[in-house]
Symmetry: C2
Subunit: 142 residues, 2 copies
């Protein structure tokens, strides 16, 4: 991380290092505020603004990705490699789906319309194992 910052001409600060560690240490796709809380114990004076600024910088440097879902604040993913996500409509959890997606999924669209695809985003919506079984229970009762 130090190297990434230096190479890009940015200063290495305690705040940046700690936020980076926090992101690396979780797979929960936290929001900015959640990261703020994760980091407060080690940086009692940090401000939420700095968290936002740092995450925005990390996004530009390509060390994380920002995930935008309907009706909820942005979430941040310490894994910058392309992968997909499953969002639970029950508990809100965001799970990784390390699903290989067909390489040529957009090729026909591209050929037909001249649209030059540089990336795509795939999201599954539904219910995680826990929420799905809760729902089945309730169905049986109600």
């Amino acid at each position: 991380m130090k190297e990434v910052l230096k190479r890009a001409g940015y200063r290495v600060t305690r705040q940046r290092l700690v936020i980076f560690e926090a992101l690396r240490g979780t797979t929960s796709h936290p929001t900015a505020e959640e990261i703020y809380n994760m980091v407060k114990s080690r940086l009692p004076n940090i401000s939420l603004g700095t968290v936002y600024r740092t995450l925005e910088l990390f996004e530009r440097l390509g060390v994380l990705q920002r995930l935008t879902f309907e009706g909820s604040p942005s979430r941040f993913d310490g894994n910058p490699k392309p992968h997909y996500h499953a969002i639970c409509l029950g508990c809100g959890r965001v799970l990784d789906a390390d699903e290989p997606v067909p390489e040529d999924i957009g090729r026909r669209f591209s050929e037909e319309t001249g649209f030059e695809i540089v990336g795509y985003k795939l999201e599954f919506y539904g219910y995680c194992k826990e929420c799905a079984s809760k729902r089945r229970e309730n169905e049986n009762k109600g």
Copy 2:
């Protein structure tokens, strides 16, 4: 539209009808504010709040879908049937991709994790025909 509203127990108002027409008459996936502007000539006194409330109602009634993209306000799609979108990073346009997507795209993930998929979302990011050719021009020059 009248019927849909009545059947669901809602009143048929001029605002609702005009907003519905505006949505039907475009394929541009407008934002709430854009719809507000489209509709002002026929409803000079309408408020932006009414546009938002109406769009939210239509979403619940299933006559439109809301599209959420990173870094831009919600867009609304008068076509409620599942289909996918391509977002141009040059001009911001949102195009329809009537691409058939493999039915079983998430089946393995579902089987492996117990996640119950009820829907998915696929988006292509890149450059529309116009923006792609502009970019090629600039490449040759610069």
